[in-house]
């Protein structure tokens, strides 16, 4: 279906990433946000609070991040598309409710505008050090979807994608921005509403007396019961059977947890978005995501100007991790993967795992606070071929 024109600010704008993210959420149909504003993500909800009265919807500033991250889930079950926005310290506090959204299969979006950590860290400066927290931050076994925009334009585009994936797979989806992308202002083109594809909620077509809230078809994703129309259902964070009732048997646990994992892993090739260049002849592949991919591009250009066969693999989808891409490249003779990131080597370890020892993996670490110098990445590319 197409986007509702009321939320779409069609035109060419000069926007920062935070504002573009807000416009993406509105274009995606978000009509509810609950937040506990925190630098450097504040501008997203500041704009949402200003815009939503004219579009029709609700913003609530909550008492803390725990409240923000569960209130939005109430709004989703009430029929809204909803999201919250935070940064590292708030993301930590939201983790309990991320797990709740996973377990109850509540389609929703969490935006994390990453800043330097741990703890209060660097409130106004960029980092990409919450990548593993996004993957493993809540307890229990689960899979997650996370997207990494590199520009204000992508903050708009990928926020829409995040809402669509959330609906399709009934899972929380993370938009993993960073302070640099969030506070950077560039041209953002917002297309007409008719050109923005929106994934609607997958409401059940089963009659109320036939409906089982957690029964699924082959895609392992259950349909949603519409609220206040005769469907009785139970939403719980306890392990539950297909009827939605708590069931404490190892069999139910195994069935449920594997399904929550498999509904995403089985679709990894469909979910994976990448930007690729010169991978066919590449001896060394630079793997990057988010803001770092722009600096990496400069390093790749410098390397190729020196005659080095350097390729680009930018992860737009960071989670689920696209192992298949790395397996293929490693067995295709790529000698090394160079992985610059604004942390001390979080995704580099995933690359190492996926490459299975067939290619060298060279992390280019940076604790955050600004971005790499292209020359740092270039040196690692050169070192890869020694």
């Amino acid at each position: 279906m197409q986007s509702d024109p009321r939320g779409v600010l069609t035109g060419t704008h000069f926007l920062d990433g935070d504002h573009a993210c807000c416009e993406g959420a509105l274009a995606a149909g978000a009509r509810f946000a609950s937040g506990y504003p925190i630098t450097p993500s504040t501008e997203v909800v500041e704009r949402f609070a200003a815009r939503i009265p004219t579009v029709g919807g609700t913003f609530i500033q909550m008492e803390d991040e725990l409240a923000a991250s569960i209130t939005l889930q109430g709004a989703v079950w009430g029929g809204a598309k909803a999201f919250t926005v935070t940064s590292g310290p708030g993301f930590s506090l939201m983790m309990e409710h991320v797990g709740y959204a996973v377990m109850t299969e509540t389609p929703c979006v969490f935006v994390n505008v990453q800043r330097g950590g741990p703890s209060t860290g660097l409130p106004t400066l960029p980092a990409q050090a919450d990548m593993m927290q996004a993957r493993w931050g809540s307890h229990g076994d689960y899979q997650i979807i996370a997207l990494c925009p590199k520009s204000p334009q992508e903050c708009f585009d990928l926020t829409i994608t995040a809402f669509n994936l959330a609906e399709q797979y009934r899972t929380p989806v993370f938009v993993m921005m960073d302070e640099c992308v969030g506070h950077m202002t560039e041209k953002v083109i917002i297309p007409p509403a008719g050109q923005i594809e929106i994934t609607p909620r997958r409401y059940t077509t089963a009659a109320p007396d036939q409906f089982q809230p957690y029964a699924t078809g082959s895609d392992l994703v259950p349909d949603v019961p519409p609220i206040a129309s005769g469907y009785s259902f139970h939403i719980t964070g306890l392990t539950h059977d297909e009827r939605g009732y708590p069931s404490m048997t190892p069999e139910t646990q195994d069935h449920l947890v594997r399904r929550l994992q498999d509904k995403i892993l089985n679709a990894v090739e469909k979910i994976t978005l990448t930007e690729e260049e010169n991978l066919n002849d590449a001896e060394v592949v630079v793997v990057s995501y988010g803001i770092t991919s722009r600096v990496a591009q400069r390093a790749i250009d410098l390397a190729r100007a020196k005659g080095i066969r350097a390729g680009k693999l930018r992860l737009i989808t960071a989670w689920p991790f696209p192992d298949f891409k790395f397996r293929a490249l490693a067995s295709n003779g790529v000698r090394a993967f160079v992985v610059p990131e604004l942390n001390l080597g979080q995704m580099a370890r995933e690359v190492q795992r996926a490459a299975g020892g067939q290619s060298r993996v060279i992390p280019v670490t940076h604790a955050g606070g600004n971005v790499h110098q292209p020359e740092q990445i270039l040196r690692a590319i050169e070192e890869a071929l020694l």
Partner: protein, 200 residues
Amino acid sequence: MLLTEIRIAGFGGQGVILAASVIGKAKSIFEGGFATMTQSFGPEARGGACSAQVILSDNPILYPYVTRPDVLITMSQEAFTRFSPELKPGGILIVEHDLVRITTLSGDVRVYSVPATRLAEELGRKMVLNIVMTGFFGAVTQLADEDSLRKAVADSVPAAFRELNRKAFDNGYKYGINLLERLADSPNGEADELISLLEV
């Protein structure tokens, strides 16, 4: 056009960020080029020093931060002291005439001075000094088209203040063109101008 790095710096409240935004908008939206604007944020920076950076190019911009500005616009003494050493050799320094005293400077820099605050006060609103400065910047650097800057100004201010800001832009632009003509007529041109500014 090669990549051009611009830094605008002054006090919070002078409209530093809006000025940078107008320049970026002119280039990226009204001229179809590319612009990336970033701001210096610090937890302690509110109400004090304020700086915005904008990079202009005909190609997509990869590295987002300004390292050695080609153009530095300073609207406070603190901004001049802090940022003038990073100006690129051969670069352009623009100063607010009454707020910045040029103390030291390497020889290889072109300097243009404008009493932007006074010109804004003549229009009855001191707050438009940033748009006066934007007009002056357009005239002396020619880095963005006059017309696209004008459109970007109109696009960036509330409708009720469009006329005021249009005048502010025009007065700054005219002041810049007149200055360039005066410098062209004088025998030692920019060298004399720099000496006169140093003596202030």
